[in-house]
């Protein structure tokens, strides 16, 4: 019997080495890298460059109209170059940004005046203009900067005074609503309507005026509590009335004082004022020709209104062959800016700049953009970042700081972590250490894995309907407000008795099952199952009794119909996110527990340790790095989540922080600002998305940084802790 063995091929073909696969997989890898790098580069560049102060350039159209703005960039589209500029002066021009076609401009060389200021204001966004006159001083133009700086310090203290007064108003308001709430509580308790009595009492108190208390007696019999509450309310109302009047008076005085100091600017908006008989050559040299004619045309050039007899020195800036800018400067003179356009060989058309005054106290920051050197620019840049990170938003979030959004995100994420951690870890612990593996457990595990993939908006809808409307409504106004029909009292109490019996049985059965020891015998496993079922029934019973109770009317019934917890707020947002990240925590914890070597558990059992001792002395410490990693990943996911936030409590502009120095410090029922939501609302919901675009990128950069930092912490922590548990075997 002979077998023929086929001769093996001695050549290695292309399939053996798989050269094409190297290229294919390498190519895919390169594409992936490219996508990541370009995403990062885009966000980094846009985010980092937004706050950089740029040069302000003035272009003109052939007809003399100015096209001016802070240069943000130029783009080429279909062969034409477009300039993208921040024009500012929103209160006058109604736009923040403009696109200009370079072909429409009179010349490609712009005017770059050194005297122009960028002024960041509390309202209306940036102003760009030439400072002309200070309302409180006769300083010459080269002292403007120092004068304004000094005056800003004073006006800041004025603003603080106004804020203090407004705080007072708020406090009084609060006292009145507290007093009103007290009456409402009595009304609810006694099921009465006291409005008539309130009106009488208040009227009586106002009549009694200075006698410090009124001798009002109710016209009908009402309880002492009601009477006291009403008297208190009347008293508070009376005192508040006088106090508020004086505070309002104070405020209006302060506001008036605040509005006293203004800075007059010439905005880069050219208005034609007439023609000047002047040869173009003279214009180019800055020669006035007839001083009287010029005076008549342009108006006063000095502070006292008297037109000086000495013609001013004129600085000439050539814009194009036919257009020229004139600047007049000098001591005791009003700095003025004009635009001159050649009309005919012997005359030219003169444009003056439109005047606009700004309340000094509205100025946040100012600087002459075109004469800053790199270090000064860096100074402005970092000052802006400082404000961005720690300041309040201005101009509906388009300008100023993101601090409330950052703070809101951080506080919400922390509360979420506190909520998700015990649930996730305990659930995973049960599934991995206690539950008997079987089809039921597998089904539950698969379901949890699938939950991690549910679109987050679904959680948002659930959070809104369950947490906000049901749980929140229940807290506010009891079962009726949450949409449940309460049982009659007798039924409810009999149900309570039944539940108590079931609970006791559940407890005893659990004790009995527990005594047999988890692994003691297989025979009476039904006892364990029965105990589990009874516990479930007890829990369900407690829930049922809670939602059917006729004896609970909510903690905030007096405030209704204004919801306290029955709306989107910090607490429900945190709960919703906790639910959303629960699968992440469970899966990570389970994996960490599964990675604990069984030999450790056996070793512990062999030492006579019980199951819980083994878990908390051996298993949990060993699994801790994995658990913490999952936890931080969950936090990162939660911090970046936006869709559910839109439904359960994030708002574009919140006046109060969710965590502050006011008792009780954490305000679970407040709405809050959230970074991710801020990106969405600024970019797509605000009146002025175009103006908000740069800010959107900066906020994106910030969010990315936070999430990356969290992830990096997770990785670092895992590496560090893992080192501790690494065995140097053999």
């Amino acid at each position: 019997m002979s077998r023929t063995i086929p001769k093996r091929s001695m050549q290695s073909g292309v399939t053996a080495q798989g050269e094409p696969m190297v290229w294919l997989s390498g190519g895919m890898f390169a594409i992936a890298c490219l996508m990541i790098i370009s995403l990062l580069a885009l966000v980094l560049w846009q985010g980092l460059s937004t706050l950089w102060p740029r040069n302000y350039l003035l272009y003109t159209r052939p007809d003399g109209a100015l096209v001016a703005g802070e240069m943000y960039g130029r783009t080429k589209e279909n062969g034409t170059t477009k300039l993208y500029m921040r024009s500012g002066n929103y209160d006058v021009s109604n736009q923040h940004f403009l696109y200009a076609d370079e072909a429409d401009l009179a010349s490609a060389s712009p005017w770059k005046p050194n005297t122009l200021w960028t002024v960041e204001r509390k309202e209306w966004g940036n102003l760009y203009g030439f400072p002309k006159q200070l309302s409180w001083s006769d300083s010459p133009s080269d002292k403007f900067s120092d004068e304004v700086h000094a005056a800003m310090k004073e006006s800041r203290s004025l603003d603080q005074k106004i804020a203090l007064e407004k705080e007072q108003l708020k406090r009084i308001d609060h006292a009145i609503s507290e007093a009103r709430l007290a009456i409402r509580k009595v009304e609810l308790n006694e099921k009465s309507d006291l409005q008539g009595d309130i009106d009488e009492a208040v009227a009586a108190r106002f009549q009694a005026a200075e006698q410090n208390s009124s001798n009002w007696t109710p016209t009908r019999t009402i309880s002492d509590r009601a009477k006291n509450a009403i008297l208190r309310f009347a008293d508070v109302s009376y005192k508040a009335d006088a106090e508020m009047a004086s505070i309002n008076e104070q405020i209006s005085q302060l506001e008036a004082k605040r509005a006293e100091r203004t800075v007059l600017f010439e905005l880069p908006i050219a208005d034609p004022i007439g023609n000047l008989e002047l040869g173009w050559d003279q214009v180019l040299e800055g020669k006035l020709g007839s001083w009287d004619a010029f005076k008549e045309l342009v108006g006063p050039l000095s502070i006292d209104g008297e037109t000086n007899n000495n013609p001013p020195t004129i600085q000439v800036h050539r814009i194009s062959d036919e257009q020229v800018a004139w600047q007049t400067l000098g001591n005791g003179k009003l700095p003025r800016n004009f635009l001159l356009r050649k009309a005919s060989p012997g005359s030219c058309e003169v444009f003056s700049m439109r005047e606009h005054s700004v309340i000094l106290a509205d100025i946040v920051r100012f600087f002459p953009p075109n004469q800053l050197n790199t270090f000064q620019r860096l100074g402005v840049y970092f000052a802006r970042w400082w404000e961005f990170l720690l300041g309040e938003p201005r101009e509906a979030g388009i300008e100023g700081g993101f601090f409330p959004a950052i703070w809101g995100t951080v506080v919400m994420t922390l509360i979420m972590s506190l909520a998700v951690m015990p649930f996730g870890v305990l659930a995973a612990l049960y599934m991995r250490e206690y539950a008997k593996p079987g089809p039921l457990l597998s089904a539950i595990r698969i379901s949890i894995n699938n939950l991690a993939g549910v679109p987050s908006i679904v959680y948002g809808v659930f959070g809104l309907s369950f947490f906000c409307y049901m749980v929140g409504g229940y807290i506010d106004g009891g079962p009726a407000k949450a949409g449940f029909e309460p049982w009659p009292s007798a039924t409810w109490f009999s149900a309570l008795g039944l539940l108590a019996v079931v609970g006791i049985i559940a407890f005893s059965v659990a004790l009995l099952a527990g005594q047999m020891g988890i692994h003691a015998t297989n025979r009476r496993r039904w006892l364990r199952n029965a105990s589990a079922l009874l516990w479930l029934a007890t829990l369900a019973g407690i829930a049922l009794l809670l939602i059917k109770t006729p004896h609970f009317h909510g903690f905030y019934q007096a405030q209704l119909p204004n919801p306290t917890f029955g709306k989107g707020c910090l607490l429900w947002a945190a709960c919703t996110l906790a639910l959303l990240t629960l699968p992440v925590v469970i899966v990570a914890t389970e994996e960490a527990l599964a990675a604990v070597p069984n030999s450790l558990r056996e070793g512990s059992y062999a030492c006579g340790a019980g199951q819980w001792q083994t878990i908390h002395r051996i298993v949990l410490p060993y699994a801790r790095p994995g658990i913490i990693t999952g936890f931080i990943l969950a936090m990162a996911r939660g911090a970046g989540e936006v869709a559910p936030m839109m439904l359960v409590g994030a708002i574009p502009l919140a006046t109060e922080l969710p965590l502050d120095t006011e008792f009780p410090f954490i305000h679970g029922s407040r709405s809050f600002m959230h970074l991710g939501f801020q990106i969405y609302s600024l970019g797509f919901q605000s009146q002025n998305s175009e103006a908000a675009k740069p800010m959107v990128f900066t906020a994106t950069l910030l969010l990315l940084t936070i999430v990356t930092l969290l992830n990096q912490t997770a990785i670092w922590l895992r590496a560090r802790l893992r080192k501790r548990f690494q065995s140097s075997q053999f």
């Binding site: 015998t521 030999s599 056996e602 548990f725 140097s728």
Partner: protein, 274 residues
Amino acid sequence: MNRLKAIADGQTVESVIHEEVLAKDVVLSVKNFNLFYGRKQALHNISMPIAKGMVTALVGPSGCGKSTLLRSVNRMNDLIDSVRIEGDMLLNGESIFSPGVDVIQLRKRMGMVFQKPNPFPMSIFENVVYPLRIDGERDKTVLMQVCEHALRGAALWDEVKDRLHETGLGLSGGQQQRLCIARAIASDPEVLLLDEPCSALDPIATSKIEDLIDKLRGEYSILIVTHNMQQASRISDHTAFMYLGRLVEMAETSTIFTRPQLRETEDYITGRFG
């Protein structure tokens, strides 16, 4: 060979236990012990005495049930859901498997060392005093005394006394295994169960462990599972030969290795089979 063939065919075969073994003081006695994994029977009607203060070795080919028998002594098999047993074992006359027995109490009376060293991820000190820690002992001086005693007992004290509070995972494999032995003897067990304690160690570490077992002889009653015939002959007083879940022959080690009663045992010992 016919006896082993009979076992393989599923017939019941009487175990041969020599008189001199039966004559000794008994710390643990196995009584008609059967163990099932689900439907499959892993141990068949095993009866054997484990002598007090001596080293008893269990030998036999892989899968013969040595480890299962050993793990039954401290009821580690309870951790497996499908396990069912019949018969009983007596530890110093007290039943191990009767329904009222508290498994945790039971395990506290024995120590066990596994194939692979399994020190806990904590300091050397904490590793050794772990059995006392779970009993709630907090007295530092007591813990320190026990730790030193156990480490000296495990011949590890001199090597680690200066780094008691460093992690136990930093030790070498042989040291780790001796640490596990220290942990097992820290609570002064009535019987010490060693499940192939040297199978994952190099020859030098193995010889140290063997010296240690030799040293522990007399003070502790030791039941050891081993694959290594030389090891069994070197360290044990009694040897039991098991095959396919049955005890074939048990005698003093010198007897088993020189003039066993059964031809089959001799064949296995001398390597002619298995």
